[in-house]
């Protein structure tokens, strides 16, 4: 049974370190072209249908700004 | 009837700690104060009151164990002698900056450096002016008998918790090693963890319960405004202590024309000097500061109109004399008789020094 997932990034807390980006097995996450209030290019779901909700990104996020959701489909 | 024992000053520091419900002692051996920890180890208070006693790896570790214990709202203490106390000064600065209560005892020996194990009062500056870095003070008590060594442990803890400030017993090997009769007090129970949480839970690291915010003990405040405010708070506390906690004793001061000022072991010698002087018709009195910080400045100032001169008698090259001069503000002569290296003057030598200066 496959899983579908999604992440919500606290974009104001994100510092754009990219550690989540390289840890995402499905290359779902990218850094936004826009910057947040502190001037960081924050992480976001670049593709909406590839996330599997594995929590890797949130696990490695030093600033704990990612919440992960998952449903079984 | 209270139990009386014949004990060394250092030994009764240990007994005083146990009897006043001290929670922890952390120390490191150094002459001439090792009897404090040795007595505690022999008494095994962990089997009776539950007091923790630990021989640390250094004076630095000892004072930082005290820092940790004080963070917990526990009654904790250490003792050392001059070179060891120098190492502890960093920790004392942190304790003062974090507004923590604790008790230390410095059984002073001669310096500088490794110096000598003989009695000295050469650490007066270090004790009353701070010792470590930053604008801070600690309360300094100067016992002059084994009884006071015992009593001042409890008094020291009371003051430490009343003001959340480190308190030091400043004395020397003469008082520490001397055996005297000491009247003991009944055993006071240690506070339970629940009692500590109730009394000190507003600031101590007793464990963050749902009914309160987390407590952080730190002396760090990088914001200039916040840090100045902390310093103002500390200074206000020192001012309050200066107003309320000065302790001293006087001998033959009512009609004195001249005054000896001496504390600790030197005050004992000076007591005999006063008797000898009075026998010769010299109107000499003795002021014995019991608190060195706060210093009995006002009492000295009160006596100035009746005095022709003051002699500060110290086992140092002249340290307390500076505080006396600050009090006197040049209004009457202030002289120094200081011996060093563990050379204890006789009462007659003190009287001769007085005469050389004033008669």
């Amino acid at each position: 049974m496959a899983s579908k997932g999604a992440i919500v990034v606290d974009t104001e807390k994100c510092k754009g370190c990219s550690v989540c980006v390289v840890n995402c097995p499905t290359k779902t996450i990218a850094l936004a072209k826009e910057v947040n209030g502190k001037g960081y290019n924050y992480a976001y779901m670049a593709t909406l249908d590839t996330c599997i909700g594995c929590t890797n990104c949130a696990t490695v996020c030093p600033d704990t700004c990612i919440t992960v959701y998952r449903v079984k489909v | 009837m209270a139990e009386k024992v014949l004990k060394k000053g250092n030994e009764v520091i240990a007994l005083g700690a146990i009897h006043c419900g001290c929670d922890g002692y952390f120390g490191y051996p150094i002459t001439p104060q090792s009897e404090v920890m040795e007595t505690l180890m022999e008494e095994k208070p962990w089997e009776t009151t539950g007091m923790v006693v630990l021989q640390a790896e250094s004076e630095i570790a000892s004072i930082n164990m005290v820092y940790g214990g004080a963070c917990c709202g526990k009654k904790v203490m250490t003792s050392s002698s001059s070179p060891g106390m120098s190492l502890m000064c960093e920790g004392l600065s942190y304790l003062a900056g974090s507004e923590l209560p604790c008790l230390t005892a410095n059984i002073v020996r001669g310096g500088p450096g490794l110096g000598t194990i003989q009695p000295s009062q050469g650490d007066y500056f270090q004790a009353v002016k701070g010792g470590g870095h930053g604008d801070y003070k600690i309360i300094v008590l100067a016992p002059f008998s084994a009884q006071e060594m015992y009593d001042f442990v409890g008094l020291g803890f009371d003051l430490a918790f009343k003001y959340r400030i480190p308190v030091m017993l400043l004395t020397d090997g003469m008082i520490g090693q001397m055996m005297e009769k000491v009247e003991l007090r009944p055993q006071q129970a240690r506070l339970s963890d629940q009692e500590i949480a109730q009394r000190y839970g507003s600031w101590a690291t007793t464990g963050k319960t749902p009914d309160r915010k987390e407590n952080t003990i730190t002396s760090l405040a990088l914001d200039a405004k916040v840090h100045e405010a902390l310093n103002h708070k500390l200074q206000a506390k020192y001012q309050e202590i200066t107003e309320k906690e000065v302790r001293f004793e006087t001998l033959f001061c009512e009609d004195a024309e001249y005054l000896l000022i001496a504390y600790g072991s030197m005050a004992r010698i000076c007591e005999s000097t006063i008797e000898a002087a009075r026998a010769q018709g010299i109107k000499l009195g003795l002021l014995r500061p019991i608190t060195l910080f706060p210093f009995p400045t006002k009492e000295i100032q009160r006596m100035i109109p009746q005095l022709k001169g003051i002699l500060s008698v110290e086992l140092s090259a002249g340290q307390m004399v500076e505080d006396i001069r600050l009090a006197v503000e040049g209004k009457i002569p202030v002289s120094l008789f200081g011996r060093q290296g563990g050379m204890l003057p006789t009462p007659v030598e003190v009287l001769d020094a007085f005469k050389t200066n004033y008669i």
């Binding site: 370190c17 696990t59 704990t64 | 570790a61 690291t205 952080t216 730190t218």
Partner: protein, 253 residues
């Protein structure tokens, strides 16, 4: 499936533990400190020991660790955290006491305190962040700085004849009778972070069982000090730090 149907409270599989505060961490982007803080907070949360946990923060970047967890904290002088922890644990034997220390704090100025606390077998947890540099003070050489590694006080690279050798303090700690669990981990990947979390959990459980000192080294990055991007730092760490500081349990009894 529409993403709105996925992002619902009942579908949450990972969220910030409530033991962490909402404060934005002062650490540089990608700093390992944040990840390790989070793992500790998660362990404290999952073990249900928030009320019983007392943390000791060091001097260095992690001095402000107390801003990030809803637990009681003591902030130690440089290197002295194990002394504070010793007294705290002995005075509160039913509490969980941990120190959080960097390489300068633990392996240089605080060598005596960590060695003796571990040798006494104090029932505490030690979290040791080894990024081979003094981060807070501006990137100076640490005791763990690798040979050849450039820092602000070894601008031409660390040389053994001039600066001595990098200190494998964790291997020394493992020799001490008082330690029950000594391990070296990292947090640059999700798998590594999960292993580190397991190690931290084990360390806290050991503390609860009074088994002795548990020591968890986390080989970490300091991308600002190393002058690399966070991702480059992780790669550099894998290629250069791990060969000298190999990961895994050194002692477990």
């Amino acid at each position: 499936m529409d993403i709105k149907d996925i992002i619902k409270p009942e579908n949450i599989v990972y969220q910030k533990t409530k033991v962490l505060t909402n404060n934005v961490m002062h650490y540089c982007p990608g700093c390992s400190h944040g990840t390790v803080h989070k793992l500790i907070a998660e362990v404290v949360d999952e073990m249900g020991i928030q009320e019983k946990t007392i943390g000791i923060s060091p001097v260095g970047c992690a001095v402000f660790a107390y801003n990030y967890m809803h637990i009681d904290w003591q902030q130690a002088a440089h290197g002295r955290a194990p002394a504070l922890a010793t007294a705290t644990k002995r005075l509160y034997p039913d509490k969980y006491v941990f120190t959080y220390q960097g390489d300068g704090d633990l392996a240089s100025i605080g060598t005596a305190e960590i060695m003796h606390a571990c040798n006494r077998g104090e029932n505490i947890v030690v979290i040791f962040i080894n990024n081979a540099i003094y981060g807070m003070t501006g990137g100076q050489m640490a005791p763990t700085t690798l040979i050849g590694m450039k820092t602000s006080t070894t601008p031409y690279g660390r040389q053994a004849d001039l600066n001595g050798y990098p200190l494998k303090i964790t291997e020394l700690i493992a020799q001490l009778e008082g330690t029950c669990f000594v391990t070296r981990q990292s947090v640059q990947t999700a798998a590594a972070a999960r292993k580190t979390k397991k190690a931290i959990r084990k360390a806290f459980e050991n503390s609860g069982q009074n088994k002795g000192t548990s020591f968890v080294e986390v080989v970490s990055t300091c991308n600002s000090g190393w002058k690399l991007t966070p991702v480059q730092s992780n790669t550099w760490m894998e290629e250069n730090m791990f060969p000298f500081y190999p990961l895994g349990d050194i002692k477990d009894r």
